[in-house]
Symmetry: C2
Subunit: 190 residues, 2 copies
């Protein structure tokens, strides 16, 4: 694997368990197997690394969401895939998704990363809003508020469910927290 990618992987994993301030170039060095100084060739400052990790994450997730929207015949199907995305990122309570991890220590992030994080959240909510608008049309999910409010609630539920699960060190609380939402997505029994 190319070194730059290995460094991004290591930094992302570390961020998702210990936060941005919780890992150092020394950690990456041990993990990837090159010297600290060599890391600066790929990412001159730690702020560059934060930007790159977040950019890669944001692109990957947003691309995935676009694919999900395209592949889903109903809004309910899209939400099911969305739920799975967050459920799997949790890794049985060992990890958080990057947006939760970076969101918590927000004020210690470099400014560029703070803006990327804000943009990612806005894009996520926009995608969810479109799905809830679609749900209002295809009736695959019943709305209990405006598509915009539902979108904010859905994102909050996913991020919060990860935190609650992690506090217990297992995936069970994530499943409990999202059970009601999951039930809304099940095909209605006539």
């Amino acid at each position: 694997m190319d070194t730059r990618t290995a460094l991004l992987d290591s930094a992302e994993l570390a961020s998702r368990t210990r936060g941005y301030d919780g890992f150092s170039y020394a950690d990456l060095s041990r993990d990837v197997g090159i010297r600290k100084a060599s890391i600066h060739h790929h990412f001159p400052k730690k702020a560059d690394l934060a930007e790159a990790v977040l950019a890669r994450y944001s692109d990957a997730v947003l691309t995935r969401l676009a694919d999900i929207a395209k592949a889903s015949s109903t809004a309910a199907d899209a939400f099911k895939a969305y739920l799975t995305l967050y459920r799997e990122a949790l890794d049985d309570g060992r990890m958080l998704c990057l947006c939760v991890a970076f969101g918590a220590g927000r004020d210690s992030l470099p400014t560029a990363a703070q803006n990327q994080l804000t943009a990612f959240h806005a894009d996520s909510i926009a995608w969810l809003t479109r799905q809830f608008e679609c749900a209002a049309r295809d009736k695959s999910v019943s709305l209990s508020g405006s598509p915009r409010d539902e979108a904010a609630a859905c994102l909050a539920l996913m991020e919060g469910a990860q935190l609650v699960a992690r506090a217990s060190g297992s995936a069970a609380p994530f499943d409990q927290a999202t059970a009601a939402f999951g039930a809304r997505l099940a095909p209605t029994v006539q």
Copy 2:
């Protein structure tokens, strides 16, 4: 104000904006107005400080929850007070509650603090479960799942709503995310 309390206040505020790894004894020193070395008289190790901050927070919140339960005539009233608690801790998108902030960087917390955090979440879910059980009896809120699942969902929603709000730097997304839950608490129009 006594120095120990001032230190705890400073450490809690710093944790809620930058995380446990995001502040140092030098920050507290500037903030409180005593020298770094003097802080060690009150909290010999930073781990002691983490424990103390989390213990004070946990006691305060749990006491408040007990008071809320006692003062509320219906489950809906208790949930309204609970919602306000999280909404106010947000400080218009500038801060998170301590359990969210510490939950994110969990793996870099001292072991004792990790256990305190797990216990606090368990206590919170237990309290919420009791309220939803109460709601099933007094019919002030309609249940869409077991009290236990509802409790996990409610806690996740509060914590997630704080994260989503903070990413945008305003309280608005918190209100959007919790609007549907708030609507469930409103007295039913006959």
